[in-house]
Assembly symmetry: none
Homo-oligomer: 206 residues x 2
DNA sequence: AATATGATGTGACAAATGTCATATCGCATT
DNA sequence: AATGCGATATGACATTTGTCACATCATATT
């Protein structure tokens, strides 16, 4: 199985080569440090799997992958990243990458490469937990377990609709001051700074 | 690595056991033919990976998996199926399953089980091609068409992360006043009241 | 009856937010 | 050279927001 490695950080690229080369089935055919190089090396070597960083100076891994896939729609690209940004996961899957795993998780890399070689898609540990959220916003946050009372929960719902303190007070028949007190308690319990961050939290954990 | 196999068709279940047992790292701790049995055996054996059919007479694999995951949210469930229906894929991912592969693809099963054991998610050959389509069913809002400039878009991104005007100013090397002006323009263009509503809008149109 | 508790309220305060009018500067068009 | 435009900036201002200390009051507990 021929593997091409492309990583911005040459030290990482070399380490990956060492790790992968320890497996008898894997042959590392090349190392690159940039998106444009990835495209060129891919053309030259036609590797079975391209193991590539997302964030790179110069051409990004996503752009390079996108270009490679437009020519070779059977290319098997496995992204490596230090970040596990939702945005990147979605983009990576969208362009047709076969996987997305965290760089640090060394011992998962070889099985991941093998799975991808067999045509499967692989998503690493940290990403795995986010998949349900990405596919379908169904995993709800358990506010109760953070000591949020039903009344406070109600306030959260209203803030998530974009209402001001005054409006919430009118709607729930409370004084504005009380709403503020509740909000203040909510923010402390959830360790958030302000209503905007609460709204963000709400929509990210729906 | 302890693996529990559950399949409606006993012949398939036994075949799977034979295949998996050929690997020295894998120990098949049990076989079941129904969802309710899956739940009971899971409790008894606490396997590392549960390899289960989706379609089964009696309780379905999805319902059983859902119940198991509600008690053991670290359960690693790998679904096997003869069908590759989008609905099932989405449901499987939604409940938090770690994989979804096609039964017929025998030689992919062992690496898939191993990847799942390591905490990764695996999606088989046939499914892999559908992932981009599944992910892309989301409708992204076109900010440009509402006259939002790239600079303003950048501000929106930062607000959606929960940053204050001051923080955004520092990050983008602008004065706080300028950030306020931009925000003011954004709110007018999108007809929103404040940053909280902007954040809500952002997450609802992602 | 005495006390504790929880829900609600008030007032004061500092900080952040949003709006507006206006200014500067560089660049492109005329 | 004159003009206009877009990006950036400033200052003033009213409003909203978040925090805190403390008050009130009904109900439940002892």
């Amino acid at each position: 199985m021929k593997v091409l490695i492309v990583d911005d950080d040459n030290l990482v690229a070399v380490s990956l080569k060492t790790i992968l080369s320890s497996d008898s089935e894997i042959e590392v055919t090349g190392i690159g440090n940039d998106g444009t190089v990835a495209i060129r090396l891919y053309e030259e070597q036609q590797p079975d799997v391209l193991l590539m960083d997302i964030r790179m100076s110069g051409m990004s891994g996503l752009d390079a992958g996108s270009e490679i896939l437009s020519k070779h729609n059977d290319a098997r690209i496995l992204y490596l990243t230090t970040f596990n940004d939702d945005e990147y996961i979605i983009k990576a899957i969208s362009i047709g990458a076969k996987g997305y795993i965290i760089k640090q998780d060394f011992e998962s890399i070889i099985p991941a490469v093998k799975s991808v070689y067999k045509g499967q898609s692989v998503f690493g540990n940290a990403i795995t937990e986010k998949l349900p959220g990405i596919i379908n916003k169904k995993k709800t946050f358990d506010y109760e377990s953070f000591g949020i009372t039903p009344q406070e929960k109600e306030i959260i719902e209203e803030i998530a609709k974009g209402l001001s303190n005054k409006e919430i007070a009118d709607k729930l028949c409370l004084s504005e001051g009380t709403v503020r007190n509740y909000l203040s308690n909510i923010l402390r319990k959830l360790d958030l700074r302000d209503r905007t961050n609460l709204a963000i939290f709400y929509y990210q954990n729906r």
